[in-house]
Symmetry: C2
Subunit: 291 residues, 2 copies
């Protein structure tokens, strides 16, 4: 299978699309704030017609492949999770196929996983990017609100773990311990302290209070509070992932500002893949998987 | 020194007072919502006169001893921190003495500490309770918004560490990961899972996402979400404190619901001291310390 198709990343807050040529190159792209949280039930088809009109008009049978929260309970059509271990072919098998005015629409499933230590995990969107990151065997890190660490073996997803780094950062920087913070943030004074504090005895619960106490003690300037919290949590995530997976350097699927933050926390040469490239390559691989 | 005095615990949200007889027994008590956050600058004296009128009228030279956030920058009179190691005599030496209509008023200082691993910490109020907990040598745990673990040697405070367990619980139970929670909370299903998750590889950043994912996976009922978070964080705090101090069972200064939560997390016979007893005994000890 080959040929042109539309690739969509339809998440909670954003809709992004790419018109893919038969040679795998991007012909055109679009982005809008039509995240699924703003689309009313029954409104998904109309929205696709409106946003993709020029592309759909140009080719009446152009297929559409989409990944992300659009396949969740709060999205357009709920696509049941496929459980890891799973390959691109497994995701294609689990995809939901739909018709839109003669266009085939495919919604890629999310992936669930129950780890050996009894943790249950889910993701939607990251599975597609992981499959498109070019990692046959190894570890992938996708920073975000809910960071994912994904283990790949023979080109398939064998397991993963979620860390709530981004959500915790948002909550903590709006909470009492960050009240002494002063804008504009200055990375320099907080970042190194955060990274060291993350490795100290007592863990994140102890480290976080330092965002306040060190300002009171004159050890951390007020402009360093949020960089301290950010660096503490990212380093805490990396330390946690290393407890799980050992000191394996992951391939990083990230854009700014996460790429720099995580590169620093991982402290070495990291292979970086952009989320866009990972998604497009992942959707292409799932679409072309032989069942 | 002995004799009657008024003991006050004047914190951010509450004012509590006790009229202490010359024999050390409580003669009367009061409590109000006049936390320092509601008292306007210049309003502290008038508030004391109003709330303590009957006690002050009964003895025109009755001294008043107070501990807590009243001595902070946002309180009545800022009392500089005394740095650990420090004894009851050191706190008496650092106390600020004030006059109120012929009554001596003493504000007990908070304590600061810089640990061997470069953590700076502060407390106000907990130092007084620690000195009144009857622990000559050992560890004290005071759960709360900012839980304190305090090391005692020869009856003095030699060091301490803060964990933001309570603040993190409040933030997380109002955050996205707790959205699937359903009231009323049911301790049973979440507590054991939280305790185990806290000890698993990956730490709190990994464990917290389980509050959502396990509900999606049918492993945790929605009524167990908040107990799961609470138990995870308390067990995470205990694990962190054990990294710092070893597996020493602390004396617990706590009231409901913390006493039960921490007893369970500490998993053994714990000596429990009520916050009131610890405060009154602490103020008495500081007051009677020989300089």
């Amino acid at each position: 299978m080959s040929g042109s198709f539309i690739a969509l990343d339809w998440g909670t807050t954003r809709l992004r699309g790419w018109l893919m040529g038969p040679d795998g190159a991007v012909r055109d792209d679009m982005a809008s704030d039509d995240g699924i949280q703003l689309v009313k039930a029954g409104g998904f088809e109309a929205l696709l017609r409106a946003r993709l009109a020029p592309w759909l008009a140009g080719d009446p049978t152009l297929p559409i492949w989409m990944a992300g929260m659009v396949g969740s309970r709060n999205g357009w059509i709920e696509v049941p999770y496929v459980s890891a271990p799973c390959s691109a072919a497994d995701l294609k098998r689990g995809a939901v196929r739909h018709q839109l005015d003669g266009h085939e629409v495919w919604l890629v499933p999310g992936v669930s996983h129950e780890s050996a230590d009894g943790f249950f995990d889910v993701m939607r969107g990251e599975e597609t990017m992981a499959l498109g990151a070019g990692v046959r065997d190894g570890l992938i890190c996708q920073p975000g609100t809910h960071s994912k660490w994904i283990e790949m073996r023979d080109g398939a997803i064998v397991g993963f773990a979620t860390f709530i780094t981004g959500e915790l950062y948002a909550a903590m920087s709006a909470s009492f311990i960050a009240r002494l913070a002063e804008a504009p943030d200055n990375e320099e004074p907080g970042t190194a302290q955060g990274r060291i504090a993350a490795r100290a005895a007592g863990g994140v619960l102890r480290g976080l209070f330092q965002a306040r106490a060190r300002v009171l003690g004159g050890v951390l300037p007020a402009c360093g509070v949020k960089p301290f919290i950010s660096s503490l949590l990212v380093a805490g995530e990396v330390a946690g992932a290393q407890q799980l997976y050992g000191a394996v350097t992951p391939t990083l699927i990230a854009a700014a500002p996460f790429d720099a933050l995580y590169r620093q926390a991982l402290g070495g040469r990291v292979t970086l893949v952009t989320p866009q490239n990972a998604l497009l390559e992942g959707l292409r691989g799932i679409r072309e998987a032989v069942l």
